[in-house]
């Protein structure tokens, strides 16, 4: 799993979510005023105004080509947050900019155009129209946009081929398994060729084997097509598998945003730490996080087996085990940028951030 976060920092920001709040309840206007003026907490808002804070001060940026995962348990506000991104839910406070446009300012027609052309969505419930064939379902987005039948069917056929369902076009959704239905859901979102795909727990209802398969296919497809995606999940493993970056939500608040490695190595608080405790570091932690500067190593780097800085712990262990030396030289270009000893590797596997020296590079 190579993660292309090198250009993620410089690529164009597609979704810019700035301090967005969502408060549910009849007295939400008063509640919002109380939050901004008096800084009441979520609990106080519930007690005093009988309002539920769904999303609290959420800020995130999704860049072109990036898969951004939002991970949280049920009730953490992740489903509300993703619906704020295409204004299925109106924010109580704050701004959501999509492609540089504040979507709160769009009129009904402009919002429809934005959703139809630029933001696809895939649902946990799949929501395939039961009266329509697979092809007609996949073509739905273009049909709504008024695209002619031949053209939209061709696009739908192509999208279905991408998800491996080219032979199923004439079937009805009820004839398909859960995993296949969700592929149709993905194809439907791809047919309109949007830049952004919002995935609302799409694989949560599937059995583990199918889920893993779809996760890998989804990531591959999204990268191949150059799409950006916001992916909601309650499963940290899934977030790590799929996401370039992960935001962890709890009680409506984004607690931490970062790459899987950053979150596992430096959890922001005890909640995140508990969450990542069971995650295997073998494929997450990379050489550049555990290596020490060449000068701090007593031995001579000559003759050591070599690895690039992106090599994960699993690769490093295999490399050391396959040689007669106790360390690996981390090489970038022609230069040795660091050394990883067996001691470094063991600390890395434990994920004990304090024991691992900060990345030297």
């Amino acid at each position: 799993m190579e993660k292309a976060n090198t250009d993620a920092d410089t690529a164009e920001v597609l979704i810019d979510c700035r301090s967005v709040w969502k408060v549910f309840g009849e007295r939400n206007a008063e509640a919002i005023r109380a939050i901004t003026e008096r800084g009441l907490t979520k609990k106080e808002i519930l007690q005093q105004y009988n309002c539920v804070v769904g999303v609290s001060d959420a800020t995130l940026q999704v860049r072109r080509g990036e898969i951004f995962c939002i991970m949280g348990l049920s009730g953490s506000g992740k489903s509300t947050l993703i619906r704020l991104l295409n204004r299925l839910i109106e924010p109580s406070l704050g701004q959501v900019m999509v492609k540089g446009q504040d979507i709160a300012t769009l009129d009904a027609a402009a919002l429809r155009r934005m959703r139809a052309r630029h933001i696809g969505m895939v649902f946990q419930s799949v929501a395939l129209l039961p009266q329509r064939t697979v092809l007609e379902n996949a073509a739905f987005g273009l049909e709504v946009q008024g695209v002619g039948k031949d053209e939209r069917n061709r696009a739908a056929q192509a999208a279905l081929a991408k998800v491996g369902l080219a032979d199923w076009t004439a079937r009805y959704p009820s004839e398909l398994s859960g995993g296949m239905q969700q592929r149709v859901g993905l194809a439907r979102a791809l047919t309109s060729d949007p830049e952004i795909i919002l995935m609302d727990e799409p694989f949560s209802a599937l059995d583990p084997l199918i889920r893993r398969q779809l996760q890998d296919e989804f990531r591959q497809l999204t990268k191949d097509l150059g799409k950006s995606a916001v992916f909601i999940t309650h499963d940290l493993d899934e977030a790590i598998r799929i996401g370039d970056r992960i935001a962890i939500m709890k009680d409506g608040v984004i607690i931490q945003t970062g790459t899987a490695e950053e979150i596992v190595m430096n959890p922001a608080d005890q909640y995140v730490a508990d969450f990542v405790a069971g995650i295997s570091r073998l494929h997450l932690v990379k050489a550049h996080s555990v290596m020490i500067p060449p000068g701090e190593w007593a031995g001579a780097p000559e003759g050591l087996p070599c690895c690039p800085p992106e090599a994960d712990i699993d690769t490093l262990i295999a490399t050391i085990a396959g040689s007669d030396r106790d360390a690996v030289a981390i090489v970038e270009g022609d230069a040795v940028v660091g050394i990883v000893t067996i001691r470094n590797l063991l600390s890395g596997v434990r994920g004990d951030a304090a024991a691992v020296p900060a990345a030297a590079a």
């Binding site: 429809r112 969505m121 929501a127 049909e143 946009q145 009805y172």
Partner: protein, 282 residues
């Protein structure tokens, strides 16, 4: 005593209002009568145009296509039995009455039901009216109708239409209202216009409920069309009414059998048409 005076005054006002309508809006009701009888005559003309065995054959074919072979055969034989009982003209006349009444009732109740499904306030206003229509004994509707439209099929039609409308309105509104939430969300996220939301999402999900409403309306219409025999509707209703007056048990049973045949035929046909086809399951 004041109370009974009040009620007598109310009754008098209602009577006067009816008389006033009869005197001053006669042209309007004559026009209604013309339209209603025209519709009924048209339907009857169409049904009596071919000989009875052709009608039985066509109905049998329709039954075969829509429901199944056994049902189609049964329909054809049952209609032939109606002819054999010497009730062919009455049977067709009743069918014409039900068809005409249902067309009018559905032309009003389907759009009204859709609007009620989309507008909760209209729905709240309609529900007590529909409750009232369905609780009053159906005979009641014959009286004002006969005062304004006179003795004959037009009166029977109006009363039948009133009785047939509520189930179609209720079930249409219900079907439109209960579109699953995730599909509403799908529509919104896909960027559908309000019209597309109705035609492409709400309506397809409402079809089974609407078809059940149409079926129920037809059944109500059959019930009423017999009662309307009292006001000279013609057809089997009048045959039964006449048989009751002369205690002619055999004829009343024959006519009842013919009614049952018609009712079952239209019930199964509309249910068959409502079944989802081409493997689509909900």
């Amino acid at each position: 005593m004041e109370m009974s005076a009040l009620i007598a005054g109310f009754d008098e006002t209602v009577d006067n209002a009816l008389f006033w309508l009869g005197d001053h809006a006669a042209f309007l009701f004559d026009f209604f009568r013309l339209v209603l009888e025209g519709l009924y005559d048209g339907a009857l003309w169409l049904l009596e145009l071919p000989p009875f065995y052709v009608v039985a054959l066509l109905a049998g074919l329709l039954g075969w296509r829509v429901v199944g072979r056994g049902f189609g055969l049964g329909v054809a034989l049952a209609l032939l039995a109606c002819a054999a009982m010497g009730l062919w003209l009455e049977t067709m006349s009743t069918l014409a009455l039900v068809v005409a009444a249902s067309i009018i009732a559905l032309a009003i109740s389907l759009p009204l039901g859709v609007l009620a499904g989309l507008m909760p306030r209209l729905d709240r206003a309609l529900v007590p009216v529909l409750d009232l229509i369905q609780t009053l004994p159906p005979y009641i509707y014959l009286l004002p109708a006969i005062a304004l439209l006179g003795y004959g099929p037009a009166t029977a039609l109006v009363a039948t239409v009133i009785v047939a409308m509520p189930p179609a309105i209720r079930l249409t509104a219900l079907g439109i209202r209960q579109t699953p939430r995730e599909f509403i969300e799908l529509g919104q996220a896909t960027g559908v216009t309000p019209l597309q939301m109705f035609w492409k999402i709400r309506l397809p999900f409402a079809v089974p409920s609407i078809m059940a409403g149409i079926n129920q309306s037809l059944m109500m219409a059959f019930g009423m069309v017999v009662i309307a025999g009292i006001v000279g509707s013609g057809g089997l209703g009048e045959t039964i009414y006449g048989a009751i007056r002369t205690l002619d048990i055999a004829t009343s049973i024959d006519a009842s059998i013919a009614i049952v045949i018609l009712t079952m035929m239209l019930d199964r046909l509309t249910q068959g048409a409502a079944r989802p086809r081409n493997g689509a399951r909900t």
